[in-house]
Subunit: 389 residues, 2 copies
């Protein structure tokens, strides 16, 4: 706050903008929890309304002991609950990044954790052939994994204030639970922009151009509420990622301030870890390709993170996808031990440069026994894939 004040920025926390009047260049602002409403004029308006976690409308979803983790406050609320209540069994619903990280964190706190996912494998942003390696890592960590299963309701005990979750009901059965954490994904929070008449784009996000301009003059959007552009498919997409939010915010701010900056787009790069298994992905994956009309091949190689003889060496798998005919790299996925995840940045850079697989094969990537085998696994995968394109 002090930093904003020092910079002469009028910050109003606990104020909600309830409407945007584009014709009269006014926003309606309501102090949270109070009736007072004021109207504020604007020359430029930036919408950075973020995302909203998906909370299915199911019986028992509002019971005590059911948590989302979309905000810091929600995280703190969950933490207090775990500290003050007698909690033994946790069920995490949703097997993406948030679900995995929450399952690991709860398991570390000593709870018996069940992770419930709808897909065939955890992490559906990976091809299932790589997802299965993450599913294995989840099970190795001591987390019970139930896949191909969907939550359809929650069982509760007590009523009113004492209304408390006791189990998650799925398409396959009933899982007892003292606490339930939802990690079912997020959607853009674009209602304010939509009500003002702004055009919406991919998955209901606010449509923007590469300078983060919306469809209305002088109105900008950035962060998780705004649309993105996929650099490999060359199509609009929506992504909710911290890096993209930071970058688009910066670009919008620069443009509003009269500079000329643009944000070319994204690859959907993401990394995470569960215990000692690192997970990374970027670009297009197999399920994206049929609808794009791209004829592709994929290879997956099992290699190691360091020289065979070097202490701490661990398995690492690399999967690459490439386009038949053109030889163009389309995407990559990596799952493995320490040192695996950040290797995706090589794939990111090659993708963004529009490299073909035979160019990737020639990359002078770094080698030393503590860090890589002499044939860097990303290059080995590229060489194998080249043969299929």
């Amino acid at each position: 706050m002090e930093e904003f004040v020092r910079q002469g920025i009028d910050v109003r926390i606990l104020h909600e903008v309830t409407a945007v009047d584009l014709d009269n260049r006014l926003v309606t602002v309501q102090r949270v929890g109070e009736g007072t409403v004021v109207q504020e004029p604007f020359d430029h308006l930036l919408l950075a309304t973020g995302n909203r976690p998906l909370v299915p409308d199911l019986p028992g979803i509002d019971a005590s002991g059911v948590f989302g983790v979309g905000t810091l406050a929600e995280g703190e609320r969950l933490s207090r609950f775990l500290e003050t209540q007698h909690v033994r069994r946790a069920v995490v619903v949703g097997a993406g990044y948030v679900g995995l990280e929450m399952a690991e964190a709860l398991h570390r706190r000593g709870l018996a954790v069940t992770l419930v996912g709808r897909s065939r494998e955890v992490m559906s942003t990976l091809d299932p052939e790589m997802g299965t390696k993450v599913s294995e890592a989840v099970r190795r960590a001591g987390i019970e994994l139930r896949l191909g299963e969907e939550m359809v309701g929650l069982e509760t005990s007590g009523a009113d204030e004492a209304h408390r979750v006791t189990a998650v009901v799925t398409t396959e059965g009933v899982i007892p639970a003292d606490v339930v954490v939802l990690g079912l994904g997020v959607r853009p929070r674009s209602e304010l922009g939509q009500a003002a008449g702004l055009k919406l784009g991919a998955r209901g996000s606010i449509k923007v151009d590469s300078r983060m301009r919306t469809s209305a003059e002088g109105v900008w959007a950035a962060g998780d509420c705004a649309e993105s552009f996929h650099l490999v498919s060359r199509r609009p997409v929506w992504a909710s990622l911290a890096t993209v939010a930071n970058k688009t915010g910066r670009v919008a701010g620069a443009n509003i301030a009269g500079h000329e900056q643009s944000f070319p787009g994204i690859l959907g790069t993401a990394i995470t870890k569960i215990e000692h298994t690192e997970i990374a992905r970027t670009g297009l994956q197999a399920r994206d390709l049929p609808s794009l009309g791209i004829d592709y091949a994929a290879v997956q190689i099992d290699s190691i993170t360091r020289s065979r003889y070097y202490p701490g060496v661990a398995p690492m798998s690399v999967r690459l996808l490439g386009e038949k005919g053109t030889g163009r790299l389309l995407g990559g996925q990596i799952v493995g031990g320490e040192g695996s995840a950040k290797r995706i940045d090589t794939v990111v850079t090659a993708l963004q440069a529009g490299m073909t697989l035979d160019q990737v094969v020639d990359l002078d990537l770094s080698y030393a026994p503590p860090f890589a085998p002499v044939w860097e696994p990303v290059l080995v995968a590229a060489r194998e894939l080249m043969k299929l394109l």
Copy 2:
């Protein structure tokens, strides 16, 4: 050996080729330690004669207790010496990759180690502004570092068999030593090719084209004896690196077997570590640029390896060089804690793609708290450098 036999390859170890007769397509082969000489005909000849460590012709250089570490056998000889002799003080001469790694290894064995280097900082393949960070890491590790100092001789005791090193004499003084390890760099072992009449190239290496053909029909060279091509300077260079040796050997073999493969060249990528400090470099460095007529700017930023709050976070510095006018990336150097070194592969890929700094800034590199701050330090450096080009 068995694998070669299985593949029907006639392997002759302990045989030295002493001459090549290009006109008559014959090599002269002598069994090591024996007088017998035979002549073998060839259709194709591959020279893979490797490199030779530099051993200065100084008084005392052949005393007992003075070791090079160019071969596995030499390493084993040193190891046996340390196990069987009373050794307390080690002096390592040369502060490049080999010198640093040997100094660390000897220090770990409990010896008092002094590292002597000629340059202003260790690792002259880094710009001195980054080298100084490695020098600090060496000192922090408990190794005595003497820089700007050159070995001019060795003191010894005894005579003949008992002739044993007791000190290294430098331009600055006398350093007592029970064991001396030389890490003064290597040169291409190209004498055999030169004597046969092959053209030599950069630093006396055997001149080859991108298919690893020498100047003589049907004669090929690969590995540390062969010349390379620098992908940024677009000039012939010589590099002695395991990855390059592996790759050029493969390309030469494929071409000899009738396939058509080529090796485009190198960036001089290299990584190493000392204790917990990781070191990486690729592309051109400041000292290369004046003679190439390249007008450049450099930036160096101090950042961190992970999110500020994540356990194990460590400092990391990134230095990037770019060309004024064109905005082209020229090279990069990274020194920092765990997870620093392999980040150089992003710079490698950007360099090899011929990216400009404004393209690097837009890379959708990976982020998660265990692996990176939300603004990846390589991108921060690129953004700063862009302003100067």
